[in-house]
Structure formats: C-alpha cells, structure tokens
Subunit: 191 residues, 4 copies
Amino acid sequence: MEKPIQKRTLATRAKLIAAGEAIVSEGGFDALRVEEVVSRAGVAKGTFFAHFRDKDALMERLIGVRLDSILDALSDIPAPKTTDAMVEEMLPMLQFMVSERYVFDLILRYSGAALIDDIGPIGICIGRHETVVMGWLNAEGVRRDVDPKILAEGIQAFVFQTLALHFCALHSDISIQSRLGSYLKPWLLAH
Amino acid sequence: MEKPIQKRTLATRAKLIAAGEAIVSEGGFDALRVEEVVSRAGVAKGTFFAHFRDKDALMERLIGVRLDSILDALSDIPAPKTTDAMVEEMLPMLQFMVSERYVFDLILRYSGAALIDDIGPIGICIGRHETVVMGWLNAEGVRRDVDPKILAEGIQAFVFQTLALHFCALHSDISIQSRLGSYLKPWLLAH
Amino acid sequence: MEKPIQKRTLATRAKLIAAGEAIVSEGGFDALRVEEVVSRAGVAKGTFFAHFRDKDALMERLIGVRLDSILDALSDIPAPKTTDAMVEEMLPMLQFMVSERYVFDLILRYSGAALIDDIGPIGICIGRHETVVMGWLNAEGVRRDVDPKILAEGIQAFVFQTLALHFCALHSDISIQSRLGSYLKPWLLAH
Amino acid sequence: MEKPIQKRTLATRAKLIAAGEAIVSEGGFDALRVEEVVSRAGVAKGTFFAHFRDKDALMERLIGVRLDSILDALSDIPAPKTTDAMVEEMLPMLQFMVSERYVFDLILRYSGAALIDDIGPIGICIGRHETVVMGWLNAEGVRRDVDPKILAEGIQAFVFQTLALHFCALHSDISIQSRLGSYLKPWLLAH
DNA sequence: TATGAATGAGCGTTCATTCAT
DNA sequence: TATGAATGAACGCTCATTCAT
C-alpha cells in the first residue's frame, strides 16, 4: 500500500539508464550529458530529475552496473592461492576504476558509504567486493592473527592507494600489479 | 638578469596569499572564490593568474602552509613507542585533513604527485610526513621483514582509508583513532 | 439528473480550499503551490484540476473570500459624508490589496473581467465594490454633471493608481490615504 | 577615476540591445529569448547577465527605447486644445502599451518606480510623459483649482484603467478613445 | 606586470498542466 | 472522479580561465 511503484515508472527509469549506458559505452563517463540522456531516452528533462537527484546519482547507477558485472565474474572464480594471483583476479576491477579519472573520483567519494544508511550503488559494490575478497582469506598462508574484515578493508585501502599513485605518477614505471603486490604480501602473509 | 624579482611582484603575491588565508579562516577552503581573493587583495582578476597557474595552485599553497606547521611540530617529537601513540601524534594532521571534504579531496589528488616532477606544496608535505613516519619505524617491535618505505606508504594508505570512511560513515561510532589503530597494529608489528 | 453533485465532490473541494487558505495564512498567496495544496488536502494533483480550471481559479476563490468579508462590512456602514471619510472606509480593502504584490497583480488582472461573460469571484467583488461606492455618490456636495457609473469607475482607477504608486514608491512619504484623497477631492466634488 | 566605463563594454551592451530590438521587431516582446539575444549579439550567455540583472532588465531597456521615440514625437507637437485631441495625441503610446499583454504588465509594474531611486527606463519614460502632459494643462478650459501635477497623475490613472479594461473586456464595444475621453472630460474641464 | 570584460558549456530548477490508467 | 508520473521550455547561474589593451 505504501508505494506500489508503477510499471511506467520502472520503464522510464530503465530507459534513462539504458540511454546513459549507451552514451558511456560510446564516449566514456566523462562525455555523459544530461541533455543527451533525456533526448535519447525520449523523456523530458524534468523527468530525469524526478528519477535522479542529480547527474551524479545516475553516474553512480551506471558505474554500479559495470562494477556489478565485474563482481559477478569475480564471485564465480575459486579463491586465488597467492597474492599475485589475487592481484591478477582483481585486475579487471582495477582497470575499470582507472579507466577514467572521473570514475575513480566518484568511486572514491561514494565507496565508504557502504557503512551508512543511504548506501548507494557504488557503496553496495564495494561491500560486495569486500565480501568476495574476505572469502579468499581463508586460504593457506594467510595470517590468522587479524580479523578477516580488517584484512579485507586493508586490501581496499591498498587498492585505492595504488590507483591514486597510478594517476599521479603518470610516468612511473611501476605497474599497478607490482605495486599492489608489494603491499599485499606483507599485509596478508603470515611470517 | 636572471630573475630580478621585483619588490612589487612579491608584495602582490603576498597580498593574494594573505587574502586567501583570511577567506579560508572565515569560511573554509571550499568557500574560496578567486573573485573574492582579488577583490580583497585589491588587484585585478588577471593578476591572480599571473602569479598562480590556477586556483588550485593557491589552494595548494594555502593547505601547504597549514600542513607545514603541523609537520614542524611532528618533527620535534621523539618517535612514539606504540602504534596507539603513533596514531595520537598523527591526530592533528588527520583532523586538519578531515576538517573539510574539499581539503581531503585536494590532498588526496595532489598527494601522490610526490612521485613526479612538478611536485607541489602538498606533495612535498606528504613526502615530509612519510620521512618523519619512516623515522619512527626503527623502533623495537616494528617488523623488519618489509622495506620501511613500503611500510610508510602503507601507513599513508591506511590514513586515507580511515579518513575516507570517516567522511562517508557519518553515523559510525568508530573513532578515527581506533580505526587507524586497528590497521596499523597488524601492519607494523612483528608477530 | 442535472447535477446531482455528490457529497464526496463537495468534500474534496472543501478540503482543497481549506488547504489553500491554510497555506495562504501561513506564507501568503505568493507561496501557494498546487503541489502543497493537494498534499495537504490529501488528494492527487490531477484531482485539483478536476475541481479548478487552473491554479488561478483557486486563487480567485481564495481572494474572493477575503474580499467578500471586507465588502460585507463595507455594505453595512452608512454613506460617508466626505472624501476623507470615504477613503477611510475603503482602507481595509486597500490594505488587503496592498498586502502582497501578487495579490494586487491578480486583482488588477481579473478586476476588469467584470465586463465580460465569465466573470470570476474577483470581478464580482469589484462589481460589488463599485455598487457600494456608487451608492455613496448620491450625497450632498458630490458633482451631478457626471454619470455616477463613470465616477465610480474613476474611483477605481484612482485606487489602483494609488496602490501601484505605493508599491513602487516604497520610500515615499505620502500615505495611501492622503494620496487617494488628493485624487478623489477634485474628481468627486462639485466646484 | 571611479568607473571609467570602457568602450568595449558599451559596444557589447549596444550589441545586446540591438539584438533584442531585432528580435522584438520580428516576433514581439513575448518572443524574446535570452538564448537568441546572445546568439545574435555574438556574445556569451554569461556576458548577458553581466550587463543585465535578468531578462526583465533588458525588456525594460527595450520598452524604454520604444517609449522614448514615441515621447520624442509627442514632445514636438503643440498642446492639444480639447480632451478629444489630447486622447488622439496619446493614442500611439496607448497602442504600444496595448500591443502585447506582456508589455502592459511590465509597464504597469515598473511605471511607478518613477518616484524612487533605482528608477528604470520605463519609470523615466512615465516621468517624461507626465511632464509632457502637464505642459498641455495650461490651456484654456482646463480647471485651475487642482495642482497640475495631480491632474497629470490622474490622467495616468485613467490611461491605465482604460487599458486594463481594454484587456479584460475583449468583447467590449467601447473604444479606447471614447472610454479615456469619458474619464478625461470630467477630470480636466472646468465646470 | 596589471587590467577586467568576456567566455562558455551545461547543470539544476521551476511548477502549472496534461493524460493514460 | 481520482491518480501521479510525465511534460517542457527557458531561465538563471556558476566561476575558473583567457586575452586584448
């Protein structure tokens, strides 16, 4: 009785997201213009803002969709045996995050929201990622003296650090993989 | 003939920085508008850009000044003996970084620049911070199996992670100190 | 079979008007939004337009109600003997008209409608006012060389002029009363 | 020293006004779009708002220009001998005011401003009109018992009343001339 | 160096009104 | 009658940055 969301509403929202995805896949996230989204979706501008608080809200959704499909793949694989393998598996996600500065910034900003109420699509994905990664930590060689939750959060921290340095140090010769690896080994391995 | 920097030039730059600091101390970094800076400094808009590459260049200067004074204090203290003490000592810096979302974002963006050529004031400060912290790692109980440089970078990563979560998880009941502590213990301590 | 107006219909309309009045008494006419009217009345937006041609139709109703009660009082008093007394008696109406620029504009726009077919609540009130005022003109000292109908219309013109100047000339030191009086004396008195 | 307005500024403003006039003369005031003004003037949108507070501010200017040229003509003619002749002379102005509802509303709203400080173009024109008309009142047959200033203001009141009724009473068979005449005779003539 | 008018792309907003269900 | 999602056309604004003087 509360809010029997209408079919039409859902259809409109879907049209908006589909239009957004089309634009992004053609020109990247940075190229997305609200004006074009509504024109492609065939709805009025006012409608857009009735569905999304602002442009960023759609961006979050769109990024969330991408992250979700990456995470779907990640969930299906068996737990990697080494930190190098771990990094290898995370690579698709890292590459997506690093594909556009704009994307990275948005993820960074909305990622932590995983802990609060009005958790957005990105926050949910980060949460999923944490869960998946946590599932990997029950492996041989991984330290047992630290709460896996903390370990997973730490991995997250190193991921962000790695990507942030990647953006700043454009001419750096250290690859994402090796940098992340050099953090994860001492963080995860029993010694 | 090289760079006979004129007195007037220096004076103008000083006026701009003073104006910037005044605005920031009144309304925060986020509220700083080039328009107001020049109006307070009594110069024209164009003059601003003759002195600073862009607005961010001034921002960096302003933030750099603050960070520097915090770091000056940090350099004078003896190396903390425990991770808790370490967190305690870093608190002033954390609190400044967390004082405004805008400040945090800017630091995040320019921090990694420490690795590249055109290193700015913020990058320098992050570098100083890293050096100071690295100096603490020669203590008893700190693991020796990892390059201190990597350890220091890891601390940085945990600092950023902690602050990022702090921003998003407004209602969280975990304090900055305890969260950072729960990262640093397993990261730094031999076991 | 003609118009068996249902109880529900009347109830809905009453709710809408009540909601409108509540909003107006809280924030003024200018602040009335259809959105809020229906939300307070607990009906859907579409329902509003099933009851009122447009927003202005409600506005007219609302203003009409106020004007009516002012006019009821005005009808009961004996004809004033002087133009000053006349102005005095008209004051409550003037003050209401001047209470909000928006109200004045609306009255101005719909007042003349008195001459056409689809006469609305405001037009009716202006007509009533004209009738009342015309009844005052049969007094001693009032010129007889002009059709009382024209005289009454002229009074109306001076009222509007006075109020219009009142809005623009905020800092003017001439009161509504004295300005209107200085128009009415030469207009009404035999000489 | 205060504000040595630059030539370029003046040129830009002139371009803006010229563009506005062109649009108005093609499609009427109601058809003016800020977007088109700037596009025709070949300047940026931001520039428009640097010169005019908002769209209405340009409208005022544009209407002011038209009124000015009508008033220029009005100033050159000899004082009319009768109220009918007076009405006849005022006709061009009346017709302009009545040419578009939008124009009339704007004039009505800004006319009285003639009395205050931040007097706009329209206010100035109304003032000029009053002066011109006042000059006509020194004629034979015009009553002497009332301050010409009041008489002129009264004429203004009747003009607005006439035009307002003209708009509302679309199907009315009374012409502007005859209605205005029926007000002016008893207002102006000695009896 | 200094000036300050001009740039400019696009976002967010407004909110009365319509219409398919 | 009632519903409420959708409409839609502009407006106003932002404000760091550029460039001709």
